[in-house]
Amino acid sequence: MTTTADLDTRPADLLPAAPASGLTMPEPALVPRPTGMPETTWARQHVLDLDDFTAGEIELVMETTDAMKDVLRREVRRAPALRGLTVATVFYEASTRTRASFELAGKILGADVINLSASGSSVEKGESLIDTVRTLQALGVDVLVMRHATSGAPYLAARNLRASMINAGDGWHAHPTQALLDLYTIREQLGGIRGRKVAIIGDILHSRVARSDLWGLAAAGAEVVVCGPPTLIPAGLGRAHPHAGGDRGLPPVTVVERIEDALRDADVVMTLRLQKERQEGGLLPSLREYSRRYEITRERVALAKPNALVMHPGPMNEGVEIAPDVAHGIQSRIEDQVTNGVAVRMALLYLLGGRR
């Protein structure tokens, strides 16, 4: 069949460049265009947090996610980009949407996905964590997706690892894939992130989602205002933030006391799950007191811009941090967040899968 090219020969303008054209158009210089890829390319082995992501890297993830949403709209929701790749989800902590969306993301792209739960407690020690990860690597796992109750656990596990590591939530520290899907949802709904005012309300102290969101939103150029009970705002957050030094402990944001000031003219109202199981005595007077002051109600949403987006990373405590009619109302983008979570995780698996 390799000779069919000859059969298709069209007599019209077959052979070498017409000499007549040689005398005109001096314009485009006769040089080949450069071959190198000019734009941001992906160079990461791991995704542990967004605190060191550049705007270009975030945009690359967003564009790749666009393409993944195209795949999700197809008649056959499948593309074989990760054929031959093995993904393991290793969850030392409960999860519904994160784990399910990683599993779906891997399967839609043709990867083999195995799920491990460490329900026991023997994994709290660093060494056994490392052993687990090494074992999975020896079994041929290319990408590990880890959730752990201890902040920093995925960092420890990623050390000296040949496989890729995605942090699916570690302690109070970081949840980069949730933050990326939040960024994507804002970009998709509002057409962009730069210059948008995002109000984040609630328990920032215990929220790994908030921490990663703050880094990601800052890198993408959003204006972020935070509000919550003073006991649930990390000490030092919102102070003048000298970014120059090596200390990247806290992301740059504005902290306000009154929720009205946070919500006024916001493009996005993001509220966080009140981590009831993580409230030590004394941080909150009572749940009722919390709702009275910080619950996102219809009246409070009205302070934001008309059609402002209402977002929540889930799972929700309806009637505590968000009123049910807001959670399920027309401005809610909570279900879009879940849907976008699959596409964002497909994008990350695709990008990380390139390093093998």
Partner: protein, 181 residues
């Protein structure tokens, strides 16, 4: 050795006009015709062909865009992931006569990937292939239905299509192997 001009802007324009007529002829002026451009340079080529056909047939010709990165058979061997562009079909491709449009036909592997990608989107009645340049060296049993120019090439050479929309001017170059390093 400096690159050789295979097609000037005028050559390119004439070739596209001819292909546009051939497409209409092959599909008998059917109303279910649709063009799908492969990123990157197949997309502007598909748009130009559609505009030309609309010019003389007085009929709307939808143009879709297709990215094949996720279906490439060399993905696992590439170091860097190719950037993915939008795959968008303005109409349902089911039961359409789809003409895939690409700039250069070489090994045929891109077209194989494009066929897979397209068939995951839907089930066209028929798929045809139009390319601006066929440079030979097929590695798969794939042949084009419409060709702007057949160019005998050596394996190491590169055929470089430059278009107004992507490169600021219309031109096709043959770049020698040595010049690429």
């Amino acid at each position: 050795m400096s690159p050789r001009v295979l097609m000037t802007d005028a050559d390119l324009r004439r070739a596209l006009t001819r292909i546009a007529h051939e497409i209409v002829e092959a599909t008998r002026g059917s109303a279910d015709l649709m063009l799908v451009g492969l990123h990157t340079r197949g997309v502007p080529l598909a748009r130009r062909l559609a505009a030309t056909i609309e010019g003389f047939e007085n009929q709307r010709v939808p143009v879709g865009t297709l990215d094949i990165a996720l279906h490439r058979d060399d993905l696992a061997r590439l170091g860097v992931r190719p950037r993915i562009q939008r795959t968008e079909m303005p109409v349902d491709i089911a039961e359409k006569q789809v003409v895939l449009v690409d700039d250069v036909l070489f090994t045929g592997r891109s077209i194989r990937a494009a066929l897979d990608a397209l068939l995951e989107i839907g089930r066209p009645r028929r798929i045809l292939l139009a390319v601006l340049v066929d440079r030979g060296h097929r590695e798969l049993p794939i042949r084009p239905d419409f060709v702007g120019k057949n160019v005998p090439t050596a394996r190491g050479e590169e055929v470089q299509v430059e278009l107004e929309e992507t490169d600021g001017h219309d031109r096709v170059l043959l770049v020698q192997a040595e010049a690429r390093v």
